[in-house]
């Protein structure tokens, strides 16, 4: 008798509080992160859009009250010839950096597969060193190496008879200055991309490559038709991330030009910063930032779509 009654009594008593707890527990665990990310990333993103629709200068900052101007800021920015220059320049810079980074990193990753073990450890350690170097530190190093008077680059180029680079100032000519910036950014970006691509290469079964070679494929063909397609997801992620990072570049040009870059060295991020904090036009700066996000979304949409397509196939 007792036994018959006991189980139904016991069951709800033991599971109901447990059920209640597990139902609310995950939400309790997630709430802190939602609060932080929502409050400090999502809310400012909304505020950015709202701000871009206001005239918001120093007076408005003190009064905590902007003047609604609708799309006025966007109108002003879109007819500004400097904005066109800056956006084209930033896109070209991004393209050059991403292309060079991915090509060079892939070559180094393929090389890593072929070198002996000791050399692989040496190359890997050098990559880790560069990876761990803070951006500001690396900018200072390159600034010193490209110094017009005592920089080692000018000395080496003169010694190698590339030309007379004694007292050559790389930043007089913006095209040369931007080339230096590409070198700085690509040097810093190679470790992450190389290590990621190398990790991907390790997952390509070697019998597939061997089979292709038995069938008469040369090194380029076996890379093009066997290895590269298998690495596609990794390439997509790496290109997408590099595009986001390089398009928003701020530190390298800003610090390399001693925190006073001329308009020739504006990237879109520096331009937005200058409009907001340099001439205290926060509304205008915010609208530039919004346009920057929009361009970025358009550029990266392609990669995201391709990645989703791959995910659906698998």
């Amino acid at each position: 008798m007792d036994m018959a009654i006991a189980p139904p009594d016991l069951e709800p008593a033991s599971t109901r509080p447990g059920l209640f707890r597990t139902r609310l527990l995950p939400y309790a665990l997630v709430i802190p992160s939602v609060a932080v990310i929502g409050g400090i990333l999502a809310f400012p993103l909304g505020m950015l859009i709202w701000l871009s629709l206001q005239h918001y200068g120093l007076r408005e900052l003190i009064q905590h009250q902007g003047d609604w101007v609708g799309l006025g800021n966007y109108g002003a920015i879109l007819v500004d010839p400097l904005f066109h220059q800056v956006i084209v320049r930033t896109l070209l810079f991004t393209f050059a950096c991403v292309a060079l980074t991915v090509v060079l990193s892939t070559l180094v990753a393929l090389l890593l597969q072929r070198v002996s073990r000791v050399v692989r450890v040496i190359v890997m350690s050098s990559l880790v060193f560069v990876w761990a170097t803070p951006v500001i530190v690396s900018v200072d190093i390159w600034q010193w190496m490209f110094d017009y008077e005592f920089g080692i680059i000018n000395y080496l180029l003169t010694q190698l008879h590339v030309g007379n680079f004694i007292h050559h100032n790389w930043f007089d000519n913006p095209l040369q200055g931007w080339s230096v910036l590409v070198v700085v950014v690509v040097w810093g970006a190679i470790p992450f991309v190389t290590i990621t691509v190398f990790a991907g290469l390790l997952q390509v079964p070697s019998d597939l490559v061997d089979a292709a070679q038995v069938d008469g494929a040369g090194p380029w063909q076996s890379f093009r038709y066997v290895t590269a397609p298998m690495l596609k997801p990794i390439f997509l992620i790496v290109i997408c991330l590099s595009t986001i990072w390089d398009f928003g570049v701020f530190n390298q040009p800003y610090v390399l030009l001693n925190q006073r870059p001329s308009a020739d060295y504006y990237t879109i991020a520096i331009y937005s910063y200058r409009e907001s904090f340099g001439v205290t036009q926060y509304g205008l700066g915010a609208s530039i930032a919004v346009l920057m996000v929009i361009v970025l979304v358009i550029v990266t949409l392609f990669y995201v779509r391709e990645t989703l397509k791959l995910a659906e196939i698998q």
Binding site: R23, P26, Y27, L29, V30, P32, S33, V34, V36, I37, G39, I40, A42, F43, L45, L48, L61, V108, L111, L112, R114, V115, S116, V119, R120, I122, V123, S126, L127, V128, F129, V130, A132, T133, P134, V135, I136, V137, S138, D140, I141, W142, Q143, W144, M145, F150, I152, Y155, I244, F247, N258, Q259, Y273, S276, F277, A286, A289, M292, V293, T300
Partner: protein, 302 residues
């Protein structure tokens, strides 16, 4: 008969000799190719490392050896004067302390919050879980540079500009999404059966969690801590915009202002750069095993 056998023997010998020389040729060609690969690899390592070597070498050179048209490849004699100059610069020690406080407080909070969220998404199915994960991934796409203006105005309104708390909050939000994502992979990798069997053996749910899951997640916590450390230690623009007074700034802001305030004094600047990079490189080198394994574990397993 004998002649034929002899002829065959000679022919076979010739064929064998031919294959032997061919094999030797392939082998030596392979050796040459391997040598070429290794030399190229070493050249890559030299090119990548040279800027870092040049920073350290310059930091140890006396001023007269730095400002030479024909550079000295090795620091000889060695001096520590540049390091002393860098450390004695105003606000160096203040800014080291600020960097340590910001990174330390941020890491403790981030690991705690990220771990809770990782457990929730790896161990429980709940309504809104997918939406949450999509948010975690999507938020990483937003460039931080674009948010500087509203962040500044928002923190300005609550009086947290030029205060470490504001910077800590921003860094926390920046590193959290990646940390949650990576830790989630680690927690998901630990079979829930382990916890269940501990509970059968008499552990409470919380007890099983702390005795079984928590120790196994250790490497994941280390990996994400390294990531957070590097992100926060190296960050520049947020600290530059938010922290205005020199005794409140971080080490990267101090380093970036080195040249503008005093003109390029390369020796002390390179010494300062070496000091700024040192903690990160040390942290990274000691724990990189965890990082490499950790990143892939977090990314691959779902």
């Amino acid at each position: 008969m004998i002649a034929r056998e002899a002829a065959q023997g000679v022919r076979a010998g010739r064929v064998r000799a031919a294959t032997r020389t061919a094999a030797a040729a392939t082998r030596s060609w392979r050796r040459v190719r391997q040598l070429a690969y290794d030399v190229t690899g070493l050249a890559v390592a030299v090119v990548m490392l040279f800027p870092i070597y040049w920073m350290v070498a310059t930091a140890f050179k006396p001023g007269v050896d730095i400002l030479r048209l024909e550079p000295k490849w090795f620091p000889n004699p060695i001096t520590f004067q540049n390091f002393q100059d860098a450390i004695e610069r105003p606000f160096f020690l203040d800014d080291v302390r600020n960097s340590l406080v910001i990174v330390g407080v941020m890491l403790v909070l981030a690991l705690l919050i990220a771990f809770l969220a990782a457990v929730a998404t790896a161990r429980f199915g709940f309504k809104g879980r997918n939406a949450y994960l999509v948010m975690i991934i999507g938020v990483q796409m937003v460039p931080l540079n674009a948010l500087i203006i509203p962040l500044y105005l928002m923190l300005d309104r609550v009086g947290q500009t030029d205060a470490l708390a504001g910077v800590i909050a921003v860094y926390l939000a920046v590193v959290l999404p990646f940390m949650v994502w990576t830790l989630r992979g680690f927690v998901a990798n630990i079979p829930a059966e382990l916890e269940e069997s501990a509970m059968i053996d008499g552990c409470t749910r919380v007890g099983a969690f702390f005795r079984i899951t928590f120790p196994l997640v250790g490497p994941g916590l280390v990996a994400t801590a390294i990531f957070g450390f590097i992100q926060a230690w190296n960050e520049y623009i947020v600290a530059y915009v938010l922290l205005s007074s020199p005794n409140n700034q971080t080490l990267t802001v101090w380093l970036a202002s080195f040249t503008t305030n005093h003109g390029p004094q390369w020796g002390p600047l390179m010494a300062a750069a070496t000091l700024t990079g040192l903690p990160v490189v040390a942290f990274f080198l000691v724990l990189q095993r965890y990082l490499a394994g950790g990143l892939t574990a977090g990314a691959v397993k779902g």
